[in-house]
């Protein structure tokens, strides 16, 4: 299964980014083959809609699950449209979260915040 995680740096020991849409990078990890790759978040400095763009990238790369501390309404709409499951990440590194996910210790995210765009 292919999973996606917003990360601060491009390695498995990197901390999970606190924001999904504004994360510096995305990690894609295949739980079967244990292969991984990273993408820069091109929407990190966009004036708005970063969550929508981030969700689009995750969906387009065929991830079946996203592990994130938080997620906005718009991103959630795109992800659910693409049938990507959203799990709540635990504080720590990407690798710790991958292990927790495989051990089925993560729960589905059930709170989605409203858009941050154009506030202020």
């Amino acid at each position: 299964m292919k999973i996606a995680i917003p990360v601060e740096k491009q390695n498995l020991d990197a901390q999970v980014a606190q924001s999904f849409g504004r994360a510096p990078h995305f990690l894609f990890y295949n739980t079967k083959s244990k292969e991984s790759y990273y993408l820069d978040n091109t929407a990190v400095a966009d004036s708005g809609g970063a969550g929508i763009r981030a969700a689009q990238v995750v969906a387009d790369h065929g991830a079946e699950a996203l592990l994130t501390p938080r997620c906005g309404n718009n991103a959630q709409e795109v992800l659910s449209g693409a049938e990507v499951l959203i799990y709540k990440s635990i504080p720590g590194t990407a690798l710790e979260n991958i292990e927790a996910f495989i051990a089925e210790k993560l729960v589905l995210l059930d709170e989605f915040h409203s858009g941050m765009h154009r506030h202020g």
């Binding site: 809609g49 929508i52 718009n74």
Partner: protein, 289 residues
């Protein structure tokens, strides 16, 4: 000569509406335009009658899914990330859309049309000889610029005096409000904060190359950082409104001070004359350039 005067300030509560409605009152025959679409309040003083309402809409893209071949040009084009590609079709996030119309143009299949989405309204009425136009934005909307654009259509057509009551600050919505003005009147409070906010709008009107002057509001004896700013930067001070209990009382009762008290009528008439002279001088010196 008739002039279009924009009244602005770097923050709310400095006295834009106080100044605007009083200037409108002493001008008598004029058009008052309330551009503070998030919280228009000029109508509370002017109490216009026979108010006519006009809805203001923006255009939002609508995808005809049967025509879409999934090329994603619209998704790639949108700088605001307002279009996502879901289940092989584009999906529009209306509240993120800036109504630029670009997606319609780039669609090779002509699969995108536009629908009207109401974002607010304009209320037009009369208060004695004053024509009063107020823009009001719907709660939850993010940009009032299209409402200001609509208000400015009437401002451009008007041959008489116009008083434009601007929104606070120096953002896009203020720029739109002063675009058609012949003269910008900056209102400032006698505090360090007031001087800071004055600087913001001062820089804005300079950027727009608009003739401008300052009215110092809430003046008390003693130091006035806003006044110091004007002297230091050579900005003309057109008038001073005292920090006056009677003036505050009349305003809080939604009364126009110039209509109620001869003292204020004199103050605002003098101010209006001075603004008109300044604006004329500026026009004259402009034509010499």
């Amino acid at each position: 000569m008739a002039k279009k005067i924009a009244v602005l300030s770097g923050k709310g509560g400095t006295g834009k509406t106080l100044l605007s409605v009083n200037l409108a009152s002493v001008a008598g025959d004029c058009l008052y335009v309330d551009c503070d679409v998030e919280e228009p309040n000029g109508h509370l003083f002017l109490k216009p009658e026979q108010v006519r309402k006009e809805t203001v809409c923006v255009k939002i893209p609508v995808v005809e899914k049967a025509l879409c071949d999934g090329c994603r040009n619209c998704v790639k084009f949108c700088k605001f990330n307002a279009i996502a590609f879901m289940k092989d079709k584009p999906y529009v996030f209306e509240e993120v859309c800036h109504s630029c119309g670009g997606c319609v143009l780039v669609c090779p299949q002509k699969a995108i049309a536009e629908k009207e989405k109401p974002i607010g309204e304009i209320r037009r009425g009369n208060s004695n000889r004053i024509k009063s136009h107020s823009g009001i934005m719907n709660v939850g909307e993010v940009s009032g610029v299209p409402i200001i654009e609509k208000l400015m259509e009437a401002v451009r057509k008007e041959s008489g005096t116009v008083i434009i009551d601007c929104p606070p600050g120096s953002a896009c919505i203020v720029m739109e409000s002063i675009k058609d003005a012949d003269y910008c009147l900056l209102v400032a409070e006698p505090t360090v904060f007031g001087a800071h906010n004055l600087k913001m709008v001062y820089e804005l009107v300079r950027l727009f190359n608009k003739p401008h002057g300052v009215v110092l509001n809430k003046c008390l004896p003693g130091e006035n950082p806003a006044e110091d700013f004007c002297i230091k930067n050579n900005v003309p001070i057109l008038g001073r409104i005292p920090f006056d209990k009677q003036l505050g009382k009349l305003s809080s009762d939604a009364l126009i001070a110039a209509d109620e008290d001869e003292r204020f009528k004199t103050l605002f008439s003098g101010l209006l004359n001075k603004i008109m002279e300044e604006a004329d001088d500026e026009t004259a010196s402009d034509s010499k350039r």
